[in-house]
């Protein structure tokens, strides 16, 4: 739960994505500032996940720009990666590393000090109520447990903006409450969250702003 590099604003300006003339994302604009919890809702095929990929610099838009404090967003840029932590689709974890191993690897490669690693990792595991799974391989987790483990990985690395694609999926009611609390804590600590959510009630309870896709519809 390390703080990342602070930012002023992330601006998506008229971005689109299309393949062979078929639109995957109609023109979309969005600005995110510190302390915001922006939930994106909308029907399937509205381009929500495509937008998240573009927003995090993992995909180039067909048109439009994404800038973070004036700098074009590209996932390969280290500065950008210290601000934006995406969880879009399943994390490509190692089949031969346990949950605890993954967290150590993530913590250390993001520059965590060696002595405090155990404390940070235990804290995030306990916060998400998955401490008991620390010695399991990813293949030994249920889909809901894996969802929480993946969330713990993005929470552990430094970031000032979490970008999540349907993190509530596969979670039971109690764990959705937990997710809601964790995201609120992030926003209270001046971080931001942009996430796609299909649970309208959860979205309304947690968000500071709701964006409905496709825009201009």
């Amino acid at each position: 739960m390390t703080a990342g590099t602070a930012f002023q604003e992330l601006v998506a300006d008229g971005v689109t994505a299309s393949v062979d003339g078929v639109s995957m994302l109609p023109e979309t604009s969005l600005t995110v500032r510190p302390g915001e919890n922006v939930v994106i809702t909308g029907p399937n095929g509205a381009g929500k996940t495509t937008f998240l990929r573009i927003l995090t610099g993992n995909m180039l838009p067909t048109a439009g720009t994404i800038t973070l404090d004036g700098t074009r967003v590209d996932e390969r840029d280290r500065t950008i990666r210290r601000v934006i932590a995406p969880l879009i689709g399943p994390i490509a974890g190692y089949r031969d590393l346990t949950v605890g191993d993954h967290l150590i690897l993530v913590d250390q490669t993001w520059g965590g000090d060696r002595d405090g690693a155990a404390e940070r990792i235990i804290a995030v595991l306990e916060r998400l109520d998955i401490y008991d799974f620390r010695d399991r391989y990813l293949s030994q987790l249920s889909s809901g447990q894996r969802q929480l483990v993946e969330l713990s990985i993005v929470l552990l690395r430094p970031s000032a903006l979490l970008v999540l694609d349907e993190p509530e999926q596969r979670l039971d009611t109690g764990r959705r409450e937990l997710l809601s609390d964790v995201l609120r804590e992030r926003v209270d600590a001046a971080s931001s969250v942009v996430w796609v959510c299909h649970d309208q009630e959860l979205a309304e309870r947690t968000a500071t702003r709701i964006e409905r896709f496709p825009q201009h519809s």
Binding site: A17, L60, R76, I91, Y94, D96, T98, A118, D135, I153
Partner: protein, 444 residues
């Protein structure tokens, strides 16, 4: 080995089931006959030439066979016995009777005797294995005879193939039917194969084949070998950015236990072989390429981190290091090991130090670059596949990293500097391809 004849009504129903499934398409047996023809013909023609080349180039091997014919015959029989033993074990994962899934659903799922519905699949394997072993049984002694050896070697080779092929096939089938067998004849073993096992092996075989056609040898290997991880509560150590990444690779390899140890042993053996004085000073242009290709193939068992990294290119990385650093950290320990082993082997066998250094550097660079090309090769480009070459082009694409490594070894025949230059060029090409994999995706 033969399957007992069935009642005519069963044969008639079998023909109808075949018609329903294949509707004039070539059956498994027909394509097996063609494969056997190709394997037999090429095995004999090229095998005799290769064997002749070996016995001609290394007369000591020929003399040893001539001086100790009984011992060599015994060794050949022992080799066939070991292969039959291994076939028995392999049968549990992939037996000799694996019809394609459609055949299982339309033909084997009927109430016809299983020995009948699996007859063609079994005969197909028998034909291919027999052709292969006969080709080998003719090729190896044939080359010896051409190089001046005794003609009895050819007779022995043929006899061994004729006895060894049925023994191997039977052991393989017994392996497949292990735990289900209700008799010892081939027909009884075929009858005892349960549909669940056939379906599992058939689907696995299908997915391995499709992965190979797509040029994805890593997926093919993952499908074919169900690697078991040793469960250990020990975690990797927090060793900073670089140390933890390397430590994770080592931990991953350790958890595969004997499999990793096996890869390490054959890798070291191959690198040693590629660096010892007789190979470095060999006048044959084929020795170093063959040995280096072997080293390249065995390296892939030690680069699990690099393979994972390549497989996730284009996805958001969970690690806090740039892709360049991650690539180097996954590859550098293996390359360093290759360099040190090659250098020590070369110097210990009498290669001059400057030449040993250049040779070891070229070898390690070529093997490192070969791994980069291998892990980032992806499926064959559509432009290539659409060029009419079909499977041949696909095969070339799968093999191109290996061929690139062999080319560096061929450059080594010209001289150590040429080899180093070729290895550097290959490294630059491989790095450029790696770089292209880590660009943000474009909507396609």
């Amino acid at each position: 080995m033969s399957v007992s004849p069935q009642a005519p009504t069963d044969d008639h129903r079998l023909a109808e089931a075949y018609h329903l499934r294949y509707r004039g398409e070539g059956t498994q047996l027909r394509s097996a006959l063609f494969t056997a023809y190709v394997v037999g013909l090429f095995g004999v023609v090229y095998g005799v030439l290769a064997s002749h080349y070996v016995f001609q180039t290394w007369p000591a091997a020929r003399h040893r066979v001539q001086d100790h014919p009984l011992l060599c015959a015994l060794a050949a029989v022992l080799l066939v016995a070991v292969v039959a033993l291994l076939a028995g074990r392999a049968g549990r994962r992939r037996g000799p009777v694996v019809p394609e899934p459609g055949h299982l659903e339309f033909v084997s799922a009927t109430d016809l005797p299983r020995a009948l519905t699996l007859r063609d699949a079994w005969r197909s394997t028998c034909v291919v294995v027999a052709a292969g072993l006969l080709g080998l049984g003719i090729a190896v002694p044939g080359g010896l005879v051409m190089a001046g050896g005794s003609g009895w070697a050819l007779v022995f080779g043929l006899l061994l193939a004729l006895v060894g092929a049925p023994a191997l096939l039977y052991a393989w089938l017994r392996g497949e039917a292990a735990g289900h067998a209700g008799g010892s004849s081939a027909a009884a073993l075929l009858d005892s194969l349960p549909m669940s096992l056939l379906r599992t092996q058939s689907l696995m075989s299908d997915s391995v084949s499709s992965a190979l056609v797509a040029g994805d040898t890593r997926r093919a290997r993952a499908q074919a070998f169900n690697l078991r991880l040793r469960h250990t509560p020990l975690r990797i150590k927090a060793l900073g950015r670089w140390g933890t990444t390397v430590g994770a690779d080592i931990a991953g390899l350790r958890r595969l236990g004997w499999v990793s140890l096996g890869w390490l042993v054959v890798q070291i053996a191959a690198v040693v072989l590629a660096a010892i004085a007789p190979v470095v000073h060999s006048r044959s242009p084929l020795v170093l390429p063959v040995v280096l290709v072997l080293a390249h193939l065995t390296t892939s068992g030690l680069t699990r981190g690099l393979q994972h990294h390549a497989g996730t290119a284009g996805e958001p990385s969970i690690l806090g290091i740039p892709w360049q650093a991650e690539t180097v950290l996954h590859l550098a320990p293996v390359v360093a090991l290759q360099f040190v082993v090659a250098l020590v082997a070369a110097v210990a066998t009498g290669v001059a130090v400057p030449l040993a250094l250049t040779h070891a550097a070229a070898l390690a660079l070529a093997l490192g670059a070969g791994q980069l090309l291998y892990v980032h090769k992806g499926p064959p480009p559509l432009a290539l596949m659409g060029s009419g070459g079909g499977r041949g082009v696909g095969l070339l694409w799968v093999a191109h990293p290996t061929m690139a490594v062999a080319l560096v070894a061929l450059a080594g025949v010209l001289g150590p500097s040429e080899a180093l230059l070729a290895a550097l060029l290959l490294t630059s090409l491989a790095w450029s391809r790696t770089s292209s994999q880590f660009t943000p995706a474009r909507p396609r």
